[in-house]
């Protein structure tokens, strides 16, 4: 009996706050709102990219595709004459198999870490990628060559090595929650939360940081740079949310995670879409997803015609603003 009491005591506050668990996400949202036949649109990054271009959603420019071992020699035609580019596996996941080249002279290539490598190394990477080394289940893959993101140096103190990205949960076309993922030394420059990246909750109304977590536990500043995370604010916020919201029209998936980056020159860019977005975003924002999802679900019967992405963003920004800033709470209590 005692054990049941403890369970009750632990789960009731979570339930009251509308925190969503994996079981509920799978049954009530992914199974219900995401049709299986639409998955390839988001699981295959090349498909996502081509679709995005058709829907005029900004993505890093596609320089070329290398589809077979015989085409590897075409890298010389595809790569930009100068400047950087990224090689990505189309069916990769979790940032595996991405090779970022800062600059090159045709024979030697400089990686993001600054190390110079020979062309043969790049070609071997392409060969491995096409053989399926980085794809799910090891199925043959194609390599996407795309323009490098130029991240605004004003934000370099918020991240260690990698480019931070912004995850927006889009439910039936409405952005419901957002966070920024900052890579750290312990995440090895990757923006994956379970590898130790920092998740920063973002206020939907303003694009300001509300709180931050690392390894599911609250943090105040970036462990490697010492930058106070509360100072983070995303520019061009409304534009970014509209971009995320319009991904629903493109992918057709009701419950969607959109990963975006900020480019210094081109503004917000769509990196990839996720049909099974994780739940850590609740920890980063310090609140549950369910009340917001329920609000969007209840909306359906009331609005007769389809609002466009900008209308949906405006509605969501009004509904889901978080006025209080949790960052200041611990400071005030000390």
């Amino acid at each position: 009996m005692k054990f049941v009491d403890i369970l009750q005591q632990w789960s009731r506050p979570l339930r009251d706050k509308g925190v969503m668990g994996l079981n509920e996400r799978n049954i009530s949202y992914i199974n219900r709102y995401n049709s299986r036949h639409l998955y390839p649109r988001v699981d295959d990054k090349l498909k996502t990219k081509l679709l995005a271009e058709r829907y005029r959603i900004n993505t890093p420019e596609l320089l070329g595709v290398i589809r077979s071992h015989g085409e590897i020699k075409r890298l010389a035609e595809v790569q930009p004459a100068q400047g950087g580019f990224a090689i990505k596996p189309s069916k990769g996941s979790g940032g595996k198999g991405i090779l970022v080249i800062q600059q090159h002279d045709g024979e030697r290539y400089q990686k993001a870490s600054g190390e110079w490598i020979d062309r043969s190394r790049v070609e071997r990477h392409l060969s491995n990628l096409i053989s399926g080394l980085y794809s799910l289940g090891g199925s043959p893959d194609v390599a996407i060559i795309e323009r490098l993101i130029n991240f605004d140096p004003a934000y370099s103190d918020f991240t260690f090595e990698g480019v931070p990205d912004i995850r927006v949960i889009v439910f039936k076309g409405y952005p419901v929650m957002a966070m920024m993922r900052l890579s750290t030394k312990s995440s090895d420059g990757k923006a994956n939360l379970h590898q130790g990246a920092i998740g920063v909750g973002l206020d939907l109304a303003s694009g300001k940081a509300t709180r931050a977590v690392q390894h599911d536990r609250p943090v105040m500043e970036h462990p490697d740079t010492g930058q106070a995370l509360s100072e983070l604010i995303i520019p061009d916020w409304q534009h970014l949310l509209t971009l995320a919201a319009s991904c629903y029209d493109m992918a057709g998936l009701g419950y969607l995670g959109a990963d975006l980056v900020l480019d210094k020159d081109y503004g917000p860019q769509l990196l990839e879409l996720n049909a099974r977005p994780g739940l850590a975003i609740q920890l980063a924002n310090g609140c549950g997803l369910k009340p917001r999802l329920a609000l969007v679900e209840s909306l359906d019967e009331e609005t007769p015609d389809r609002p466009d992405a900008a209308d949906r963003v405006a509605w969501a920004q009004k509904q889901f603003s978080t006025p209080e800033v949790a960052f200041e709470l611990p400071v005030a209590t000390v």
Binding site: L7, W10, S11, P13, L14, R15, K17, V19, G21, L22, N23, E24, I27, S28, R32, Y33, G94, K96, N128, S131, G132, L133, G138, H194, Q195, V213, D216, R217, P218, G254, Q282, L283, G286, C287, G288, D300, E301, A326, L329
Partner: protein, 516 residues
């Protein structure tokens, strides 16, 4: 309502009805089995029965066929309750003499032939049957010169340490089993252990003969008969096995650890086939039980439900089902741990397959050998990773390595006298190879910590699944009350629609519980 919501509502209530139906049907069939078929709730209130099936196989050569199979009779400890044969197209006669035989005859046989004989024995340790037949005559024994001295020395030393025919026979059997006894080695270089023991006993003027028996182990398939020596003393007889060192061999009847059923009692052949070649006879056995009160005839009634049940299958198939019917239980545990606890495992149902392997060995040796094979496999896989191979080739290479490792460990444990190491072959090799591959990728991508988490989760799940499937009560229920399968299915469906938190999530989301 939008079409999406209509879709969403309907499966929920449909699911509820399916679950209710499964629960009602499962409970009803379980009650039916108990009250109408008289299957007791608990295994220990029951009468033990052994179903033994002989399977005769041969290739007919085209002419008349005559098959003669020795049949067992009631004997101390076992009472022949019923017997059946399956032999389509054959004429059948029974030859009831001092040894019973079945005679199958056919005018024109062609191609491969399959004959079945099935007998059911009731275990009855109290029941004594009058002595079976006359003790055999003592045959005069002539040894070749080199064997003569060896035989004499063996007899003399066995005679020294014995007081009656049985202790004498036991002493002889021990000497023949001893690999260091020079005299015994010499005899066995020319004679089979049974033949050598018979000759020695006859020379010492004791009545003895060769018989054929079956060791009864539940769920065994394709077992051969074994040659044994039956030694007489006055009105009593006992069995001795000079070829194996298993102590249980010297006792007969149902109360021994591994009960022994006498199949053939005159020292003749078990199977004779005229008009066929490549003949063989193998045996399957299955332990079942029924209430001591119910007679077997009422159970065998022409009940439509019963005759459709798996209890009407041949014994070899039934014993497959005895294990197979435990699988849903393992699956239920996997689902429960995943959905309610949130335990991470490497490969969703890999733990169930590992648990099945644990059932064959003991849990401790199972865990140790699993860790050994996977650990060594991970090291080998690391070497393979440097060779830069394609995935399928790499996993295939790991399979070869796993087979090699298992063989190596088996040989090592045999020479170190660890018997359970020999059962390592029960592990599903392909699954092991995939586990190693997955673990090693996990190691590279997420680090050793995640490997430990998933490895621990997998072993935890496997151990719990093993614990549930190893309970004798559970085995009894799952096999005898098929209605429980429906209830397990209903539970799985219920868990499949559970939207509450996982135990691990209560910890994960703890910061959300405390703030403001």
């Amino acid at each position: 309502m939008k079409p999406e919501q209509i879709h969403a509502k309907r499966p929920k209530s449909l699911l509820k009805w399916i679950i209710v139906f499964l629960l009602v049907a499962g409970t009803a069939y379980t009650l039916y089995r108990h009250y109408i078929h008289g299957i007791a709730w608990w295994p220990d209130t029951r009468q033990e029965l052994w179903d033994v099936e002989a399977r005769v196989e041969f290739d007919a050569t085209g002419g008349p066929v005559h098959v003669k199979l020795a049949l067992p009779a009631s004997q101390p400890g076992f009472i022949l309750q019923s017997e059946h044969t399956a032999s389509p197209g054959y004429g059948l006669g029974f030859d009831e003499g001092r040894q019973r035989y079945a005679d199958w005859t056919l005018r024109n046989g062609q191609g491969s032939q399959l004959l079945y004989y099935r007998a059911q024995f009731r275990v009855d340790p109290q029941r004594r049957i009058p002595q079976l037949g006359e003790p055999p005559e003592i045959r005069p024994v002539v040894w070749s010169t080199p064997l003569k001295t060896a035989a004499a020395q063996l007899l003399a030393s066995a005679y020294q340490v014995s007081s009656d025919p049985f202790s004498f026979a036991r002493a002889l059997a021990q000497r023949l089993q001893n690999p260091d006894n020079q005299n015994a080695r010499l005899l066995l270089s020319e004679l089979s252990p049974v033949e050598a023991m018979l000759r020695l006993l006859n020379q010492a003027d004791f009545h003895a003969r060769e018989v054929h028996g079956l060791r009864l182990e539940d769920g065994r398939r394709r077992q051969p008969v074994q040659s044994l020596v039956q030694v007489f003393s006055g009105n009593e007889w006992r069995l001795f096995d000079p070829s194996s060192s298993q102590p249980s061999a010297t006792t007969s009847g149902s109360d021994a650890k591994v009960p022994l059923l006498l199949w053939e009692q005159l020292g003749g052949p078990v199977l004779e086939v005229v008009g066929g070649k490549n003949s063989s006879v193998t045996f399957s056995m299955l332990k079942t039980s029924e209430p001591a009160t119910a007679s077997s005839n009422t159970r065998m009634a022409s009940d439509a439900l019963l005759s459709l049940s798996i209890h009407s299958l041949p014994i070899a198939e039934q014993s497959v089902f005895k294990t197979l019917l435990l699988l849903p239980l393992g699956a239920l545990i996997v689902v429960a741990l995943r959905v309610l606890v949130g335990l991470k495992t490497s490969g969703t149902f890999m733990p169930v397959l590992i648990a099945l392997a644990f059932l064959q060995m003991s849990i401790l040796t199972g865990l140790i050998t699993f860790l050994l094979v996977v650990g060594a496999g991970l090291l080998l896989r690391q070497t393979l990773a440097n060779l830069n191979l394609l995935l399928v080739a790499r996993v295939s290479a790991v399979i070869v390595c796993v087979v090699g490792l298992v063989s190596l460990f088996s040989v090592l444990s045999f020479h170190l006298d660890i018997e359970s190491g020999l059962k390592m072959t029960f592990f599903p090799m392909i699954i092991l190879a995939w586990t190693i591959e997955r673990m090693s990728i996990l190691w590279e991508e997420e680090g050793p910590h995640e490997v430990l988490v998933q490895g621990f989760g997998s072993l935890m799940t496997a151990t719990l699944a093993w614990a549930a499937m190893d309970l004798s009560v559970m085995r009894y229920w799952m096999f005898n009350f098929l209605g429980l399968q429906l209830i397990v299915l209903a539970l799985i469906l219920m868990l499949g629609s559970y939207t509450g938190y996982r135990l691990s999530e209560l910890r994960r989301f703890a910061p959300l519980r405390n703030n403001d």
